[in-house]
Symmetry: C3
Subunit: 285 residues, 3 copies
Amino acid sequence: MRKILIQLDTDPQPSVFDRVVAVDAGVDELFSYGGVTPENVVGLVHGAIFTRGVPDLKNTAIFIGGSNVAAGELLFKKVQKTFFGPMRVSVMMDSNGSNTTAAAAVLAARKQMPLAGATALVLGGTGPVGHRAAQILAAEGAEIRVASRTRDKAEQTCFAIAEAVSAARVTPFATGTPAELDAACDEVSLIIAAGAAGVELISTERRLNLPSLKVAVDLNAVPPLGIGGVEVMDKAKDRNGVICYGAIGVGGTKMKIHRAAVARLFESNDQVLDTAAIYAIGQSL
Amino acid sequence: MRKILIQLDTDPQPSVFDRVVAVDAGVDELFSYGGVTPENVVGLVHGAIFTRGVPDLKNTAIFIGGSNVAAGELLFKKVQKTFFGPMRVSVMMDSNGSNTTAAAAVLAARKQMPLAGATALVLGGTGPVGHRAAQILAAEGAEIRVASRTRDKAEQTCFAIAEAVSAARVTPFATGTPAELDAACDEVSLIIAAGAAGVELISTERRLNLPSLKVAVDLNAVPPLGIGGVEVMDKAKDRNGVICYGAIGVGGTKMKIHRAAVARLFESNDQVLDTAAIYAIGQSL
Amino acid sequence: MRKILIQLDTDPQPSVFDRVVAVDAGVDELFSYGGVTPENVVGLVHGAIFTRGVPDLKNTAIFIGGSNVAAGELLFKKVQKTFFGPMRVSVMMDSNGSNTTAAAAVLAARKQMPLAGATALVLGGTGPVGHRAAQILAAEGAEIRVASRTRDKAEQTCFAIAEAVSAARVTPFATGTPAELDAACDEVSLIIAAGAAGVELISTERRLNLPSLKVAVDLNAVPPLGIGGVEVMDKAKDRNGVICYGAIGVGGTKMKIHRAAVARLFESNDQVLDTAAIYAIGQSL
């Protein structure tokens, strides 16, 4: 029985990126849909769950993608609500690569330092990747500082993380002024930058004045990067005593996680690959 | 040479259901199109018939689907009109599963009783599945009562069936009032219910007062079913002396017919799988 | 590693014709997109170039098609501009079959006569196929007459050909009046007709009065053809001393070129299959 992946993309054109990865993950047949919404997804899910017997449903799975992560999350919920009893297929959500990228960023840091008890600053921490990286770090027992230009947005993300991870230690930080940024950086050993493309969030000068900093991960692929001095190809590159990773340096791990997660979908018909599950797959590689 | 199925769907998104079945029927390559109309289909059909030599055209075929059965019928006609001479590929029409479901319903009844000469009532007989079930029964030599809320619509369906099946014995029945329903049910040995989801067409009480009734097939998957007392999983279930089938009880046969019909498309390049042909495939299983 | 072809079509529905040819050319996975524009193509190209390592990128390629050749040319340029350094995949442009048809037409003539130094008239020479046929002939060293109803349009095409082929000898001809047509036909040994469907550009009578004419190729598939007396199935058919080809007579070679060009895409990741490259592939068959 051939392995079918149903790609549900919230963008008008289904992502080529996700399609190539699906092929390379060993999927036999790929059904790609663009413009998928919670309103038009129900019939597609019914087609997935009503066509093969329950013991065979592990050979059908759903992948949710697209550039709009919030839209992907709504779709992810709606797909799960459409299942009932054993009539379900495995489903993975990775809109804009958010889960696989966040997992790869945290795994890069984890190779270099213990995360439990570490103080970690996530810049751009309210965006989809930053939010997810902070959540994974919180689950690993790190003390998280979620940074955003305004404290309000950072606070909302902290509430969401505290809801997802019961023992989470998360604090919101505004980083709109230099003084606020000083406070956010004080005594951190890990910085992950997941801000908007082409915006420097921390200057090289400031970075060199953080004696506690051990690891810096920058997920921005378009220069200037978010952390001054880090380069996009950096992969465990020692820069003045700080181990640095750039977006491409983290990219190989991200791709491996993505492929492994797609392959995992076909091991049973009840996998729900969300942020935590995708990180767990990354850990097992 | 790989077997290519071109799925032409009248809905905006091509059906996942039909795609999975096509894969499981052994199709090698599936080209899926949504939003197909008689206006935009000609170029697609030309692409099917002008790309391989005539002896190889049996490896390309067309499947017409979508939730709107009337739109599917128009497309089915237009596709056939676009062929010319030996420049043609096999084509199957099963919008909303109408042909495969009707065929499976009649085959279920046929297992339990002779159809020739039987008096059969089709409730919801003017809808796509009801109409097709009535037509197949008429071709089997049964005496058909096509039931609808108003006699007018039922009459139109009867005319259409009489045109399709020369020796058809079909009578329209209104079932808007209890007295009309009594008349429609009188002395029937088979009832097939193909009405709207969630509408009970015959109560349990009435059903128990039909001594001539031998088989009841209900194609409604959402309770309450169309025939009181029948359950969706019923498969040749004896209920007070009546053999009962529910929608899921008939579903296994429907899936087998659907897969066999898709496979049949690739035996030559001139198959036209309409209601009668799909029923004939069901009989041969 | 599976060979992936990404079909970018400027029409709303991606061409079935191009999909079947891709399958028959040995492509393993076909990602088909309709409605592709220079505006929405960038993300699709990024998905092609950022998913596999550079040594593996030869297993991913792009095909540009659709009925609008000018739109396809814009897309072809935009796709190439999106590549950078080694981050590229091979790309082929054949909107409306223009390149493969023009190549096949010239190859048919080339079998029958030397092209270098020949005087060739291209009727409908400003359309996509005519323009390309004239350009290929110019590169082969023929003396080209680009014919159009008005001289202005023919002149523009000549300028474009002169820019593409440095040593091109091209002259614009108006063919709006019988006298103009007489002048255009005078002493030509090859005529290729690539005009609008169903329009006769040269009558049988006129053709029979061209003693210098050796080969006539008509690319019109709908009668009346562009050159009086030629028939659509003609394949090196001698008609009163002129070797004639019709659209279907040329079609076999066109299909072979199309399949070979698609296969060629996967030999390296830096092929750019434009008019000249596709003709070169045709020559090598």
